[in-house]
Symmetry: D2
Subunit: 341 residues, 4 copies
């Protein structure tokens, strides 16, 4: 590819700034040229840092013929709309997860993408984590044989503010959604049933907000394999992110990442470093790799690694998890789909 | 304690031989003097090795006034009867797990023990594993804070013969029962609800025998904490036995034991030794420690570490797991108890 | 610091390109504005990538009044001259290691730096590796007590070309020099005696070039502590870089870095990922951190973390190691210094 | 082998008691029948425990025709004499290390053994440690290719009493001697040169007794490979016993053994268990395995795993190490041998 892909960024918040920094330096073949944010000051500040054009209306950005693709990092409730508008403007789209919490809105956005024939990649960045990718690769290469059991341990270092909890869609939509995607990614197959147990153990205020903070979710895959997800909103030792795939020929598992490997042995014990605490540090390599993959997919005309349908499936699982939790029984994903039709 | 405790062994099979060897050498204060087995030849062979008296009728052994305690290693379906008879003969009792699969039989045996005022310790040996005991100790010392999540990974290296599967009571009674005990041991509290998902993935013959070979069981504790047990009848890399307790102040977890620590780095990767394969090797230290604890408990008149009621609870959980699996819903343990009354 | 430091790069080779990339994005407060290389094409290519001015004569770069500091990445035999000229031009200097192999040339360059009153930092980047820095920090905090023994394992993945070996100054000057610096860094004290054993085991051509490829060097510190360095020019499993400090209150040690943590257990063993192979990947964080420290040191007027004298000491150790190897006896560093006077 | 080997024990001290306990239970094919100790009470106490005959004169034991072999655990200065007398009495001999500190005495004893045609195994038990044996096996199988570098880390948890230090032969004869044997064992080849650096860092009283407590010894093998031994008399974190063999095709290394694998992660760090502290616990498996090998070697008529000459070589290395330390130069083992002739 001789020439560079030209990108616009919609949303200049925390995650938008991460993508901007990565695009500026670590994604060959990409050039970020503009940013839009309803908070014009945020857009202008970011533009100043990276030499971009700034807009407070994303439509100005979409109108530019010299922009090939957009990176959507605006608030979750605007994702579906941004996808639709960007698709209609003929732009390729990278969109942060989730597309929407409402399946009708997701389907409408995906229809717009399909009609426009543009590429849409959803930001399930963990698929690009070197450890998880290596686990997936081991499964693909048959090193664990036929997969029989999956485990995903996913614990945040600390809960988000209650104000955020209230609008987040709840733990299954906000936090577990990453793990639902990971569950599908690791085996490369669909989950057909979800059974969720939950509790409020970390902070009563989370319960008062109608959410839970601790959960164990059992999964049943189409092939008959079983899976389990362990979630907590607070792990005092840091961001706990591990997976394990067990099968007929073996097991692959990952450990937490640390900042270094120095271990102290003294008269009391053997003391190692804590897991990385902050998700942007933990998944730094993944954020870069997903953007590289997006650029590669557009420039080579290959399907995106995380398609719109891949982005939709975890939302269905989130709805099923809430239904299972509330009704105290396993819920098949088909129940969620049937309700729609 | 100046004098030695004199013991009789009932059952000269595989596990009986393990206890005989340990009692002969590694349990100070204990002296094994007699063995009984319905297969008289087995009793006599073992007696020859250790200089014991041999009987083919356990009642001859129970009649001996010079025997303080018995170790019951006969087949599971005779445990309750042996406990009852030994209690009536005034002997202290160590009995392999489970006491029985039927709760009425268990309760009758426990009543006999109580009436006789003898000590009964049930053979949930894993509580004495150094790693699991250290995890429990960390919980007791408050090092993980308030426990919120427990995980027990328990995978056999290879499935038992189908002939055994058919009479075993099924995976939850035969294999998970150890994990049910471990779940209670790690937190020191009762489980109130069980939800079991299962599958036949290892060997169709296990399914044809009415059993399953792969299971994920979610637990809810009295305190609100959650737990999960992962079971498989076949792990090609060896006996996979790990636990993890997560709480408000931290996490404690154990790794598999290996025969040595030698690791090879070559051009292909970094290669370490497999987990121990055979349960007698994996739990060698635990078998010795449980017998030492039994002798100590009798000689010092302290309550046994694994009482009759502790031995009963996992059986209730096993019944609840089967009911949950069959009915596809979480089952409270009180449903099992209520059914009895 | 409101304004940015403006830097010029001398030398557009492999390591120069690394610093250019880091300065472009990951060193806040620094702005690379020009590059000089005797190979003008190399300078211009790099200039094109980062929007720099290009020169084929470094003196043009040094003449620019708007440049505050230079990064010297030219060939080793020009380092001392570049330092001298840059100091005379009033520029702060970051210089790749070693300053020179000849102590007279080093001392002349350091005298020029002192006279000019500029800051000189030498590129012993490994001090900035997170693991080694954490080991050093543990020593500083007294966590190992009084240090008694140091070990540095340092093995390259593959030997350099023989053409390079011939002009490299030999293993002690080219490879061990990093470990000599690490030995001084870890304890924060001087080494007073060196005893080197060596062999040609990897490639006879290295021996024919007058060099060795395998070495064990014993160190004696001023405090009486002992140290050992293990060197090989070829580790098939990757770049092997580990340190250990042992003392009266404990031990701190580091492990090799890997690209991910995924571990496969199968019927043959437990297989983990190899150490990182390439030094630029292994020390990526260290290259960034040393440049950040350089900028910080200039802008805050604090002494450089790796001063000219710190850069000189490992060269003395290299001479002592060669002398020890050739004469088959321990050599005190004072013998090297005395020879000079 | 249908019948049991009958053994006598000479020396009822700490290590004698270890062998007695192992022979009583864990060495099939062996039967300990008698014990002799110049402290008759010690002999009688041990005899009482295991049902043995007791003597205070070892010659009474050697006279017994029904004894096939003896285990010599008397004080080091009597080993050579005991070997000679036992050989003359036609007994096979297991003797604790070292045979003697004086090479003439060793050679006289080995001559007596050869003349009598009995089997002599020397108690270098560490060869039987599962981890070290696995490392050796990897070398034998060519998994590390041609060996190029060996490292042995060997640190005692705490120094012995000064009274013992004074009669021990010094660190190289008392402690390093095990490591000298390990160095030869791991590669299966001779060491030809030793270079020792030492210091008194742990306790000045050790220095006043004419000994050192900290040492780094460099080895040169016949093949040209290099080795290094790290010794300290005090590691506060426990008994530190690790080896590493590096070669053209890879590296094998071992880690310390721990009592369990439970690891705590809390807000401060990740905390694991300490290495085993006591050598009898650390090498428990090795003590059993060496005795099993001794019995097997006699009963099958195969050469002993650790022959008299294998037992002699580390003593030569000890003499060379002391000479190297005192003269401040590498010493070839041939210098020690030449001095004798």
């Amino acid at each position: 590819m001789a020439e560079q892909m030209r990108l616009g960024l919609i949303g200049a918040g925390r995650i938008g700034r991460v993508h901007a920094a990565n695009l500026a330096q670590r994604v060959p073949g990409a050039r970020l040229v503009a940013v839009a944010d309803v908070y014009g000051d945020a857009a202008r500040a970011l533009a100043g840092e990276y030499g971009l054009d700034a807009y407070d209306d994303h439509r100005r950005l979409l109108e530019r013929a010299d922009i090939d693709a957009v990176v959507v990092c605006s608030s979750t409730d605007t994702h579906a709309q941004m996808i639709t508008e960007a698709a209609q403007a003929g732009k390729h789209i990278f969109c942060e997860k989730p597309i929407a919490l409402d399946l009708v809105r997701i389907d409408d956005a995906l229809a717009a993408v399909e009609q426009a024939g543009v590429t849409l990649q959803v930001g399930f960045n963990r698929r690009f984590d070197p450890g998880f990718a290596a686990a997936r690769q081991a499964v693909i290469e048959g090193k664990v044989g036929r997969p029989e059991m999956v485990r995903i341990t996913s614990r945040d270092p600390a809960p988000p503010p209650i104000s955020y909890v209230k609008v987040s869609g709840g733990i299954f939509m906000d936090m577990t959604i990453h793990d639902f995607d990971m569950a599908r990614f690791l085996l490369g197959e669909d989950v057909v049933e979800v059974s969720a147990a939950g509790a409020v153990l970390v902070d009563p205020a989370i319960g008062e907000a109608g959410d839970i903070d601790t959960a164990i979710i059992t999964l049943r895959y189409a092939s008959g394999a079983l899976g389990v997800i362990e979630n907590s909103r607070r792990a005092v030792y840091g961001y706990d992110q591990r997976v394990e795939v067990f099968g007929s020929a073996g097991m692959v598992c990952t450990a937490n990442e640390t900042e270094h490997s120095a271990v102290l042995s003294d008269a009391q014990g053997v003391h190692g470093p804590l897991p990385l605490y902050f998700f942007l540090q933990r998944y730094e390599a993944a954020y870069i790799a997903e953007m590289q993959a997006f650029i590669k997919s557009i420039s080579e005309g290959t399907p995106p690694v995380v398609s719109g349908l891949e982005g939709r499936a975890p939302v269905v699982m989130g709805h099923a998890a809430w239904k299972s939790y509330r009704e105290g029984r396993p819920v098949r994903l088909s129940e969620i789909e049937d309700k729609r039709s």
